[in-house]
């Protein structure tokens, strides 16, 4: 028998848990092998010592302590259950929503405000455009694009630039008298710059003072209404809308008196409808043209 095999069976040999033959073989080996004999003696004494080990008993209040610990862990568990996954998902969704509102909304506002500012280039091109013969032909073309207009209004942003092309031969003095006093005051919340320039046809009976003005090019107006690019100025956007609504009446007065008036106004869609309806009431509208971001209102001559 080999030492390794004996080593594995030593415990059973001590406890007499082996068949007679194996017991005999191991006894024989232990008599010859000093190392295995040492191992055997150690194990025997070791087991004898361990037999004396007393069994410890749990303390008296063990059950009560277990219950206290269960209550404690239960309370902790309930606390964490409050923040269960569904609740966390809801909270997460709210947080994401708030973050989107905080970061995306100002960006969108900025875009709207940018749309409302009138670049100088637009003014120049509009001016040139209205002066061209090509435009005159377009102006006289009847309106047959109501569906297209509606689509545009629906699709495009709520801000439009309105170009009023007024073709009416009126004396320059009359135009100024009617237009200038009706200018909106700065107290309305937005800044309105007003210029007027119009070519005036020579009336048959004209005083000397009027003759002096004949040679002048009177540019009626280019209204540029810059809205301050500030999120807080959203209320001013509302003021701006109100201003345009009130302007519609004043503009009509200008339309009645001025000749070749070009109004370059950016107008929110809601006000645009009021504006157009007011214009239509006067019966002076010849044509309304809606382009990509420009609405041209051509007055009857």
């Amino acid at each position: 028998m080999k030492c390794k095999q004996v080593n594995l069976l030593l415990e059973d040999y001590i406890n007499h848990n082996l068949p007679e033959e194996q017991m005999h073989n191991i006894k024989q080996h232990l008599g010859q092998c000093e190392q295995c004999q040492k191992e055997y003696q150690f194990l025997k004494k070791y087991q004898q010592t361990l037999k004396k080990v007393e069994v410890r008993k749990a303390p008296q209040n063990f059950l009560a302590n277990v219950h206290a610990k269960i209550d404690e862990t239960q309370a902790r568990k309930n606390f964490w259950q409050f923040f269960n996954l569904r609740r966390m998902e809801f909270v997460g969704a709210v947080v994401v929503g708030v973050v989107i509102l905080l970061f995306v909304f100002p960006f969108q506002t900025h875009q709207v405000i940018q749309n409302t500012t009138v670049p100088e280039k637009t003014l120049e091109t509009t001016k040139k455009h209205t002066q061209s013969a090509k435009l005159k032909k377009e102006i006289l073309r009847p309106v047959k694009r109501s569906m297209h207009q509606k689509k545009l209004i629906a699709v495009k942003s709520d801000t439009y630039k309105i170009v009023l092309v007024v073709k009416r031969k009126v004396g320059p003095q009359e135009a100024f008298k009617s237009a200038k006093p009706q200018l909106p005051s700065k107290s309305s919340g937005t800044h309105v710059f007003y210029k007027s320039k119009a070519k005036v046809a020579k009336p048959l009976s004209m005083s000397s003072s009027v003759k002096e003005e004949e040679s002048k090019d009177v540019e009626i107006l280019d209204k540029v209404i810059p809205v301050e690019q500030n999120r807080k100025q959203m209320t001013q956007m509302q003021n701006f809308s109100n201003l345009i609504s009130s302007l519609s009446g004043q503009t009509l007065a200008v339309l009645k008196t001025a000749t070749n008036t070009i109004m370059n106004i950016r107008l929110p869609m809601s006000n645009y409808q009021t504006f157009i309806s007011n214009l239509k009431k006067t019966g002076t509208i010849q044509e309304i043209k809606i382009n990509k971001d420009t609405i041209k209102i051509i007055n009857k001559e």
Partner: protein, 179 residues
């Protein structure tokens, strides 16, 4: 809750004793045994009855104790010393052997021997400790240990033999076990 209380009352001493054999301190053992029953309380629903309840309970206890032995906080609380180079009696800070309840009775010498054996066992790797505790202290059968540890009979026997051999080499100098 009543049936749970019955279970606690039935097994509390066995579990406490097993914990004590692993940890060598009554306060630690009580704490561990309580933790074991708390775990049992919370996971009773997951007990599928594939093994005996006692085997399941022992398995939880063994794993909890092994985790505790591995934990850094437990290792810090244990005072490590060499069995081959014991401290002198004149030392100002003698070694405190955990919960030995030394008495001046005639059993003192035997208890001291037992204490040294326990300390020698604790210096073994955790797997060896587990096998020796289950086999030699808890007197579990090979089958029960196989159920608890998942070892095969051959592996279990050879690991036990190796653990005892190691233990003997640790103890022979201090205890004159060669006889």
């Amino acid at each position: 809750m009543a049936s749970f209380d019955e279970l606690v009352m039935k097994y509390k001493d066995k579990i406490f004793n097993l914990c004590y054999n692993f940890l060598g301190s009554e306060s630690e053992a009580e704490d561990m045994a309580q933790d074991v029953f708390v775990k049992v309380y919370h996971s009773l629903k997951s007990f599928k009855g594939l093994s005996l309840f006692s085997t399941w309970l022992y398995r939880i206890t063994v794993n909890t104790c092994k985790n505790r032995l591995r934990s850094l906080s437990f290792r810090r609380t244990q005072k490590q010393f060499s069995l081959n180079q014991p401290k002198s009696i004149d030392d100002a800070h003698p070694i405190e052997i955990s919960d030995m309840n030394f008495s001046p009775s005639q059993q003192a010498e035997r208890k001291e021997t037992l204490c040294l054996i326990q300390n020698a066992i604790r210096s073994l790797p955790i797997t060896m400790q587990t096998l020796i505790i289950l086999r030699d202290f808890e007197n579990k059968s090979y089958e029960e240990i196989m159920d608890l540890t998942g070892l095969k009979l051959g592996t279990l026997k050879s690991k036990l033999a190796r653990a005892r051999e190691k233990l003997r080499s640790k103890l022979q100098e201090v205890l004159n076990f060669e006889m």
